[in-house]
């Protein structure tokens, strides 16, 4: 498959770039004798990760889980809201200002509040990830649900299709490309949201690892967690891309790349 070969080429290119950067940093930190509490050598970070793989794996799973649940929740609520807005102008007028309010509220301000309300467990992290996912999904879903081919719409209307039938048969599939564009942005934002939420109080997760490591000047753990986070971000992107190519096999996005 062309898509798979391209994905492989992407991985190879990324690996070469990251390795090159690692080699440069390794030479720099060794040659200049940069102290480990300012910038640890890549080899030290790798050693730290290798010493405790289970620890990092389980923290990663915690954060990814929170992000995934939050993303799913935010996307579902956003799609439901966008659908309601498609059916009623009054709802459109009342939901959009609320959505902008949500959008303009700084996550850093809300995160401690959510921890206060929902405790130190996964709930506040899921809520933050959902919140951060919500707006891009809402806007794109709303635009997508309206971006229907007018000729196809006239065709279905002429057949006496109901608004519900037109929604399911035409609007929802037409919105898919827009939803995937939003998902590409939101999926990574959800990950960041979960990490930020963990900073404000958590028992588990990569954000917690970063927070504690930072407090202890344990820079190898800190950089290790950041590296894993970056890898997770790339993985999430690849996942969304693969799902997009699969679902939108009929769309110019897939056909022309």
């Amino acid at each position: 498959m062309r898509g798979e070969r391209r994905a492989l080429a992407d991985v190879v290119a990324a690996t070469i770039a990251v390795t090159a950067l690692g080699v440069v940093l390794e030479i720099w930190t060794t040659a200049m004798r940069v102290p480990g509490y300012l910038f640890p050598a890549p080899s030290a970070i790798a050693a730290r990760l290798a010493r405790d793989p289970q620890f990092f794996a389980s923290e990663t799973i915690t954060t990814l889980g929170e992000a995934a649940f939050g993303f799913a929740l935010g996307a579902a609520v956003a799609f439901a809201a966008a659908s309601a807005m498609t059916f009623s102008r009054a709802l459109e007028r009342s939901i959009f200002p609320l959505a902008i309010l949500v959008k303009l509220t700084p996550i850093v301000a809300v995160a401690p509040l959510f921890t206060l309300w929902f405790g130190f467990g996964p709930a506040p992290k899921i809520a933050i990830a959902a919140l951060i996912t919500f707006f891009p999904m809402l806007v794109n879903a709303f635009v997508g649900l309206r971006s229907v081919d007018p000729q196809e719409l006239a065709f279905l209307e002429t057949l006496g299709a109901s608004r519900q039938e037109i929604f399911v048969r035409l609007r929802a599939p037409s919105a898919l490309p827009y939803l995937f564009s939003a998902a590409r942005v939101s999926a990574n934002l959800a990950l960041i949201g979960a990490v930020v939420a963990e900073w404000t109080g958590a028992e588990r997760g990569l954000g917690r690892v970063i927070f504690v490591a930072n407090a202890n000047l344990d820079l190898t753990s800190l950089f290790g967690a950041v590296l894993i986070l970056a890898a997770a971000g790339i993985g999430v992107n690849a996942l969304v891309g693969a799902a997009e190519r699969r679902v939108l096999h009929w769309h110019p996005i897939t056909l022309t790349t």
Binding site: L159, A161, L176, W250
Partner: protein, 249 residues
């Protein structure tokens, strides 16, 4: 109920801007009427009014003796648009099944099934293909078939062949003629192609003007079956010239 379609002094448009001005028009059951006019002369609006998608501001529209909304609910109408993109996420077969699936409360005896229809237009080998894998001509064949699969009494054609190359257009005209004569439905075919109007129709109604009015009509006395090109029959050439003479400058 003697008319399939009857428009009486219909004025209609978008917002306050009228597009159609006191248009009166009738189509008999089984008749093929072409509405010819320049681009932007209100032909698509006319079809939308007949389908009840735009309410007339004055005048009355009846389709088989009913209101357009009732006719739609009873699935009496079929529509083929120019350059139909179909539903790109559905296969050819899925696209042709779709009209049978929506508005499912209506039970109609539709005769042929979706794959039999596709077989008739030579697409039997392409049932599982997606619209983007088809040529423009094949897509329009699917669009024709999906409009006919519900066995409509009235077929609305909105320049369905305009986006095709000349040779494919000739092929599809012939197929359209065959499908229409087999189905016995009434057709309103709007087009800016005067030769196509004359080749296909029993009667050509010319509309035009700043807000569209009916300028006149020509009955095409040429019998059927019709030839592929108008140059094959002098009376068809004469009819095209009469239609052209009616068009406003």
């Amino acid at each position: 109920m003697s008319e399939a379609i009857a428009l009486e002094s219909v004025t209609a448009g978008y917002g306050r801007q009228p597009v159609l001005d006191l248009v009166s028009l009738t189509v008999a059951p089984g008749e093929f009427v072409a509405v010819a006019g320049r681009s932007g002369s209100g032909k698509t609006t006319l079809l939308r009014v007949i389908a009840g998608l735009i309410p007339p501001s004055t005048g009355a529209v009846r389709v088989l003796g009913r209101s357009p909304a009732d006719a739609r609910r009873a699935k009496l109408l079929g529509l083929v648009a120019q350059d139909a993109r179909l539903h790109p996420w559905l296969t050819v077969l899925g696209n042709v099944r779709l009209p049978l699936q929506v508005n499912g409360g209506v039970e109609r005896d539709t005769g042929l099934g979706p794959s039999e229809w596709l077989d008739r237009v030579g697409l039997a080998g392409h049932l599982d293909r997606y619209p983007h894998e088809l040529s423009g001509g094949m897509r329009q064949r699917v669009a024709l078939v999906r409009a006919l699969v519900t066995a409509p009494d009235v077929l609305l054609l909105d320049e369905p062949l305009a986006a095709l190359d000349a040779i494919t257009r000739e092929d599809l005209r012939a197929e359209l003629m065959d499908l229409w004569s087999a189905s016995g439905c009434s057709v309103i075919h709007v087009t800016h192609d005067l030769e196509e109007a004359v080749l296909l129709a029993d009667r050509v109604v010319v509309i035009g003007g700043p807000t569209a009015r009916v300028i006149g009509e020509i009955t095409v006395d040429a019998g059927r079956p019709r030839p592929r090109r108008i140059t094959q029959r002098p009376e068809l050439i004469a009819a095209v010239e009469s239609v052209r003479a009616l068009l406003p400058p």
